[in-house]
């Protein structure tokens, strides 16, 4: 694949026309996969011998937690692209992804709390994983607030990109700090290449479908929201041009 061709999509017009064609497909696929994964998981999987029917929450909890982190990683990559190559679409994509990532973080936290209540006997514990997600939520909040606070679009893109970079380093540091601070209740990662160790097949396959659904939903939402940001940006540019006379 020609890498240079990829930068073509950094042109706003090209991006809009391409996503015009792609977005409907991604949307349909994401709804299908999400519905399939959740219905399969909710209706057609057995109960866990220890956790009972609460294990069904895994089909939302794990994918949303994964997407909460992946959304931040995506923002990190697009921020770097903006800093290095100054492609406007890249910065706007990061802006578009942040609220989606934040909602994913909230879903992961809420489902975790609801799940934790019967399993651990508490809604909230200062467990390293839970705490890390709470910190991640704060990072999303600050990032979005900074975008909203700055009027000049290029300045905002520059500042939020640097914040995203610095924030990533500190988020990692926090993760280690929190681990050191409290060894927790949470079970190990549910997903890993060595699946036998973690989740049985009956739970694993619907989980995979559900994860695919969340990934596709994320992509569809980011594409949609990036289009909105591009249009909003063009609108501001047109209005500014008008003011200049």
């Amino acid at each position: 694949m020609n890498l240079n061709a990829l930068w073509e999509y950094a042109n706003p017009k090209k991006f809009i026309s391409t996503t015009d064609r792609v977005l409907p497909w991604v949307s349909v696929l994401s709804v299908t996969a999400l519905a399939a994964g959740l219905i399969w998981g909710f209706f057609f999987t057995p109960e866990d011998y220890r956790q009972g029917s609460t294990v069904k929450i895994i089909y939302i909890h794990v994918p949303s937690a994964l997407m909460a982190i992946n959304a931040w990683l995506m923002m990190l990559v697009t921020s770097l692209i903006w800093i290095v190559r100054r492609h406007h679409v890249s910065a706007l994509a990061a802006r578009a992804a942040a609220p989606v990532g934040m909602v994913m973080t909230v879903i992961a936290l809420l489902t975790g709390a609801i799940w934790g209540q019967p399993m651990w006997g508490t809604w909230w514990a200062w467990d390293p994983r839970l705490t890390s997600f709470l910190i991640l939520f704060l990072f999303y909040l600050g990032y979005i607030a900074l975008w909203e606070a700055i009027e000049n679009d290029d300045t905002a893109a520059d500042l939020t990109s640097i914040l995203c970079l610095v924030g990533s380093v500190f988020a990692l540091l926090s993760r280690y700090a929190v681990n050191f601070w409290n060894q927790g209740l949470h079970q190990g990662a549910s997903m890993s290449l060595d699946k036998e160790e973690h989740v049985a097949d009956v739970f694993y396959y619907p989980l995979l479908v559900s994860i695919a659904g969340f990934v596709l939903l994320f992509i569809a939402l980011v594409l949609l929201r990036t289009r909105t940001e591009i249009r909003a940006r063009r609108m501001r540019a047109l209005l500014a041009r008008e003011r200049m006379g």
Binding site: L141, G142, T155, L159, I162, L165, F170
Partner: protein, 218 residues
Amino acid sequence: MIALLIRDLRLAMRAGGGFGLGLAFFLIVVVLVPFGVGPQSTLLSSIAPGILWLGALLACLLSLDRIFALDWEDGSLDLLATAPLPMEAIVTIKALAHWLTTGLPLVLAAPVFGLLLSLPEAGYKPLILSLFLGTPALSVIGTFGAALTVGLKRGGLLLSLLVLPLYVPTLIFGAEMARRGAAGLDVTTPLLMLAGITCGTIALLPFASAAVLRVNLR
């Protein structure tokens, strides 16, 4: 560079410079805590390291927006940026001045406040050491936040929102060190981690702060 440091310190000392503001805030926090949690000295002594660290952190936070805001308003920042000083040096000096006027007094006052919260005997040395090691990181990180929000009206709340998550690792290791020290445990691990964070932030973060400040001055 030394001229800038001396000027900032002098400004902090003169009327309206805000020197001692953080210290007064620290005192208020420490005085209010017993009213909130009750006067039992066993309880107080167990939470003292955490409260002292938290109080120091909040006192630090309180004075962050002064780091650049005044120089921004009167145009000094533009003039400094065009002066023969690298921007990295300017932000480093600013952070150092902030630490000298806010962090260092907190470190020195901490033992007195420890008395008020019946900090155990063994806890004083680790507390002071942890604050001494950790507050520079708070100033440097805070300078980054202040540089991010320098051009904004009503940037104060945003500044706190941006800086607080960045403070988490420093707070965890700093408070952990003070707590372990008070409990008579080994403090080597948090000590090393805290020192690492402080060295890392001092070495790297000024570049980010300088980049951010340049963007904001455009």
